[in-house]
Amino acid sequence: MLTRKRQRWAYLYILPFFASFLAFSVYPIFYSFYLSFTEYDPLSLATRWVGAANYIRMFTSRYFWDSVGHTLVIWLFSIIPQLTIAMLLSLILNERWVKGKTALRSIYYFPNLVTPITIGLLFNMLFSYPGGTINNILTALHLFPHPVEFKNAPVLAMLVGGIAICWQYFGYNIIFISAGLNAINQDVYEAAEMDGANAWQRTAHITLPLIRPIMIYVMVTSVIGGLQIFDIPKMLFRDGVANSTRTMVLYMYESAFERWQFGFGAALAYGIFLVIAVFSALSLFVTTRIGSKNAKEGKTA
């Protein structure tokens, strides 16, 4: 009897969270879904039902698919060096002989505290043409005879976007990977050492397989976060050639908040959700598959 009474109170305690969750998360999700089938005038608040027109427009828009492609390329340019650097530094920081680990981790994490707008502006200045810092270095070292116009070369513009995002997030990933490394029981390494395993073998056959769950988490969250990139490309090279730095979310932002096409913007939000869901599932599948394969091979060996 007392327990049942207590349970009722428990519902009351969790009510504030669920009330705000319903009002600020669930309701907007359903409302934006409804909005995606309408044309909406934000000043008169009038809506007009247009059926699937916004979705048809989205799926037939070359510019939407271009933005999907640009997002993926920028994400790839960022995630590959990001995880590589994070993994290498985490492994180094995990070694006993490294001094000042906490300070170094804090320094690496620092770019993550800088706002994306600031990073966008910073990299814009670094890579500006013709007198940006990078161009000055390249020409001073005679690596290039003329300054490089990063903005006007689609691949370079996307590469700069990737570098900026990598710079912001590699320290963030170090935190996760380091946590994964710390969780590995030292007895396993000691046993391997006694069996004569060298450093590379310990890393390849113990460390990497054991931090696989962390890597899957980092990979999936980076897909979800990385495909939503917006602020840095927005500030970096506005109107880059061939709209090369226009990402999916930036395309949605321009449609909804610059041209006030909120119905279309809502449809784009669902399109982006689909793209992210597909790539998240794909990355989960691939990383799990690779892990299982390695595990099987290990067992067989």
Binding site: L43, Y129, W260
Partner: protein, 415 residues
Amino acid sequence: MKKWISLLLCVCMTLALTSAMAMGYETDESLAGEFTWWTYFDQAPFLKDEFNKKYPNVTVHLEVFGGEDYQTKIMSTLPSGQGVPDLFDLEEGYVYKFIESPLLENLESLGVRAFTSDYYPWALAMATDKQGNIKGVCDNVSPVAFWYLRDAMAEWLGTSDDAEITAKLSDWDAILELSKDITARSNGEVHLLSNMSDLVKVEGYSLTPFVRDGVFSVEPGWVDLLDTMRSFWDAGVLADLGGWSGEWATAWNDGTLLIRVMPSWDFFTNWDQNSGNVGVAAPFKGSYEGGTYRAVYANSEKKDLCLKFIEFLTTVPYQAENLAVNNQMPANMKVLEAMGPDYSNEKFGGQNILQTYDKVCQSILDIVPDIYTRDCQNLFGKHANQGIKDGLANDQIIKNFQDEVRDKYPELKGL
């Protein structure tokens, strides 16, 4: 007899205006109250302070919001009816989206036409709805001019005289020839113009807008402009510095870029370095860029105070002060009359910039812009720049441009 009456009236008006300016504002303590004003404009506190010199008992709750999201804030606040400011500023880039809304007070019905009868017509047209009602009022206009440094012009064009410089920059052919000459003489170190977008800035409001009454079309003048842009690019005479970039501003302030095509509100001049050395020339086509319009919330209970505020910002003494302090070109043509032909601005080497800007303003054609006008111009400039650099033919450039317009505005016909 008529002549004498006209002359007498002119003398009286000039005397009245001159005395008004000389005396500052006549304080009116009888008007009291408070209202809220939202803006994105960093010079708004100046207007507020000037207003309070005349009306010390009116409290203006001014809130300045920076960034691009200001328009989103206004857009979402207005229909909610909650916490809506009595008065708010709208920028030229997006004022057209708001103008037809009944949430903006019809200032025409409040008698604003009487205060603005001496405004440049195109400046009012920007904030006039389809029924011809004024919905917003500005205190300055933004005519586009050729900005130059006098010493740099003396070195490379052989003159620092404003009239002579204007004469030398009489059309694109003349400018191209000068560009070739300067680039050759300086071994490519000095350039007359920066980039191809400068040409669009000058021509933008002299060509039929791409969209009229919801129908898209490209008049031959735009294609001719492509050819002109290409001739500049092919000649290799452009500095090719991104407009409004740090390098662009530095090059001009250092005298290696001779002309910037900029509106009167320019904030890229290093006045510490170049005060007294700056000059402006009226381009051969009239154009403008930017503008801040003050609108009143239709359900505001402080409309009378807002109206007084709007009346104040249209007056000659205030706009003259705004010119003197902020270099803002007055929207009221009476300021020009009041200041007279002897007006000179020390920052501009004693030049009568009012006359120069007035020449530009008078030559701006009566084109009433809409939500598509500026955006289509910008898109055209973007595709023209890139297409010419990539060696595309005009047809392909126009096609690329049309494709993007169609993607952005599928409701347009003619695409």
